[in-house]
């Protein structure tokens, strides 16, 4: 309550001109609340002493956020603008004139480029789904075990492994399950048809950083499931299955979906692992962009790379548009 009552005074403080009258208003009215009794007699004093200072502090404090806004505007907005501009315009090499065109975008949605987009979406969806299930199982095992040591170990390991994407991960798997990998030789996996440099192989590698990520995301949510809910369900005669179906899963649903979407996003954006692992044998949009950018395909493909980048941003943006409201909703439930 005290924080709730201090926020309005903070909020109205820096508003221009009317600060003194506005400030005493909200601070004076909620006096009946117990918490505010000490505040109520300090508030006028504070205002009298620091009213003018505070009004002056308003704009100056606003300035502290300016470098960040300017920086993102320049270092993020500029490349993004260039990407957008390049994706929808075409420059005539002879005349130098630029014209608006949908050609690059439509080319990025055809043939091999469309195949790579679909491949990326498929791989991300499959790995995110499997990783969500496995992550929930592991997190639930940790939560129900109540061993603090196990919990700390799993959380630390997840924190490290979730960041263990990229190049080192690819090499660890090449050494393990690659053609001359240790496990491949021990288990003679090649004769069983195992190939690390394929869709399945890539999925197995992706799970290595997606599962820990899911554990990190879902563990707080599972902690938020109160034992009282389970007891209440049991008292009402529900079995374990019913409890999960009607109580736990509905409460967890936003977190689960949010986690899935987050995993999808990070699998979708992953490039380094795939680049170091499969080169070009699995069609992925990130690899196609890298190829087009470094001129490996054809000269003049840069604009298609930009258009593909735009496609990726649109898909990732869609994913985030689902994720953020879900996260807010689950945060409301699992306090």
């Amino acid at each position: 309550m005290s924080s709730a009552s201090s926020t309005p005074t903070e909020g109205t403080g820096p508003t221009e001109g009317t600060a003194p009258t506005e400030g005493t208003g909200p601070a004076g009215t909620p006096v009946p609340v117990v918490d505010d009794v000490p505040l109520a007699d300090t508030a006028p004093l504070d205002r009298a002493a620091g009213g003018t200072r505070r009004r002056r502090r308003g704009p100056r404090i606003w300035l502290a956020a300016l470098p960040l806004i300017a920086f993102t505007g320049l270092c993020f907005g500029l490349p993004l603008g260039a990407l957008l501009y390049g994706a929808v315009t075409r420059t005539d090499p002879d005349t130098g004139a630029t014209a608006l065109t949908g050609e690059h975008l439509s080319r990025s949605l055809q043939g091999p480029y469309l195949g790579s987009l679909v491949g990326s979406v498929q791989l991300s969806a499959v790995t995110a789904l499997i990783a969500s299930v496995l992550g929930v199982l592991i997190a639930q095992a940790v939560v129900t075990s109540r061993s603090q040591a196990l919990r700390n170990a799993v959380l630390t390991a997840s924190g490290v492994l979730a960041n263990f994407g990229g190049v080192p991960l690819a090499f660890a798997f090449i050494a393990t399950l690659g053609i001359s990998g240790v496990v491949t030789r021990l288990g003679d996996l090649t004769s069983l048809g195992w190939n690390l440099y394929s869709f399945t192989g890539l999925a197995v590698v992706y799970l290595y950083f997606l599962v820990p990520l899911m554990v990190l995301v879902i563990l707080p949510a599972l902690d938020g499931l109160r034992p009282q809910w389970r007891e209440a369900a049991q008292n009402a005669g529900a079995g374990s299955l019913r409890y999960w179906r009607h109580v736990a899963l509905p409460v967890l649903a936003p977190s689960l979906l949010g986690g899935f979407v987050l995993l999808f996003g990070s699998a979708f954006a992953a490039h380094a692992t795939a680049a170091a692992l499969v080169g070009g044998s699995v069609p992925l949009v990130t690899l196609k962009i890298a190829d087009a950018l470094s001129g490996n395909v054809l000269v003049g493909q840069e604009n298609v790379a930009l258009a593909l980048g735009l496609d990726m941003i649109l898909i990732a943006g869609l994913v985030m548009a689902v994720y953020l409201p879900l996260q807010r909703r689950s945060a409301r439930w699992l306090r």
Partner: protein, 312 residues
């Protein structure tokens, strides 16, 4: 039926009551123990096998026995020291820049400009929507403008300086953009845990100067989230491959890939080492982040609570 099963299950294993904590019935706990063991065992195996196998791969050559050459040859390997130094330098610069930008902005938003909060939040979270590979296409487009359009202007020098081979500032800028969401989340969580306006008002009314408030009151309270933000940024920069390789620079991750053709064993050894280094850094930072705040925090907490009653 559904009402019968749990009660029957509950009744059966009651003889061993000390296995069950007070809140939980015994029956449903016994089966979970089985699947819990299976899940944790399988999960542990999946996560441990690649690490162990990588280690075996680096030290054991079939037919030749065990040798640690991959590790001993590392230090003298061509480009190892330079690329690692470059990556660490980039990481330090990125951490400094990201924190310098984000901390004042977030504290300001807490203190006096709540209307800016959505703007700052969107600014910090937007880079999440743009995958690094898309960001680098944009960056390389912008960098190409330099020679194409600006070669006669003084701005061109800036373009060249930013792409300096020995310390590519453009990478610092790009990494800072990529790190902002993580830094924002970490700092926001930290700021949420302390009542910054009250702390600042208390310190100010005791006569503390503005910089004193920032460095001795606000920042120490944020120590663990600052450490978390720094760690995430460090891990991000050390492992970053996409942007650096496509812009043609050669920090650590790019170097690992470039030697993998000729020295497969060494590249795996370096990968393992980088994981271990990350792990150690995480442990060190989490200790540095939590331990000092918990010990002097005990001393600091009474101090702040002493100042706030004085104010009232």
């Amino acid at each position: 039926m559904a009402a019968m099963t749990p009660s029957a299950r509950e009744a059966a294993p009651k003889p061993d009551p000390d296995a069950a904590p007070a809140a939980r019935p015994v029956g449903p706990r016994r089966r979970p123990r089985l699947w819990r063991g299976a899940v944790l065992g399988l999960g542990g195996a999946y996560f441990l096998v690649p690490l162990v196998a990588s280690f075996v791969f680096t030290v054991h050559t079939p037919g030749q026995g065990v040798s640690f050459e991959a590790y001993t040859a590392l230090l003298s390997a061509d480009g190892f020291a330079e690329s690692l130094a470059l990556s660490l330098g980039l990481a330090a610069a990125t951490i400094a820049l990201a924190l310098l930008l984000a901390v004042p902005a977030l504290v300001a938003v807490r203190l006096g400009a709540p209307r800016l909060r959505p703007v700052v939040e969107v600014m910090c979270m937007l880079p999440l929507v743009v995958p690094p590979i898309a960001l680098v296409t944009g960056i390389s487009t912008v960098l190409r403008w330099g020679p194409e359009h600006l070669s006669r202007t003084p701005l061109y020098q800036t373009f060249l300086a930013v792409q300096n081979e020995s310390f590519p500032v453009v990478l610092v800028l790009a990494y800072t953009v990529m790190a902002l969401p993580f830094v924002y989340r970490s700092l926001d969580a930290g700021l949420r845990a302390v009542d910054v306006p009250t702390l600042v008002e208390a310190a100010r009314s005791c006569g503390a100067s503005r910089s004193y408030v920032m460095f001795r009151v606000v920042l120490p309270n944020l120590r663990s989230s600052l450490a978390g933000a720094a760690f995430l940024t460090l891990a991000l920069v050390l492992g970053e491959f996409t942007i650096a390789s496509l812009l043609g620079f050669r920090p650590f991750a790019v170097w690992i890939v470039s030697i993998s053709g000729a020295h497969a064993r060494m590249s795996v050894a370096v990968s393992l080492l980088s994981l271990i280094i990350t792990w150690l850094l995480l442990l060190a930072l989490s200790r540095a982040g939590t331990a000092p705040t918990s010990t002097p925090g005990g001393a600091r907490a009474p101090r702040t609570s002493r100042t706030s009653p004085k104010e009232s």
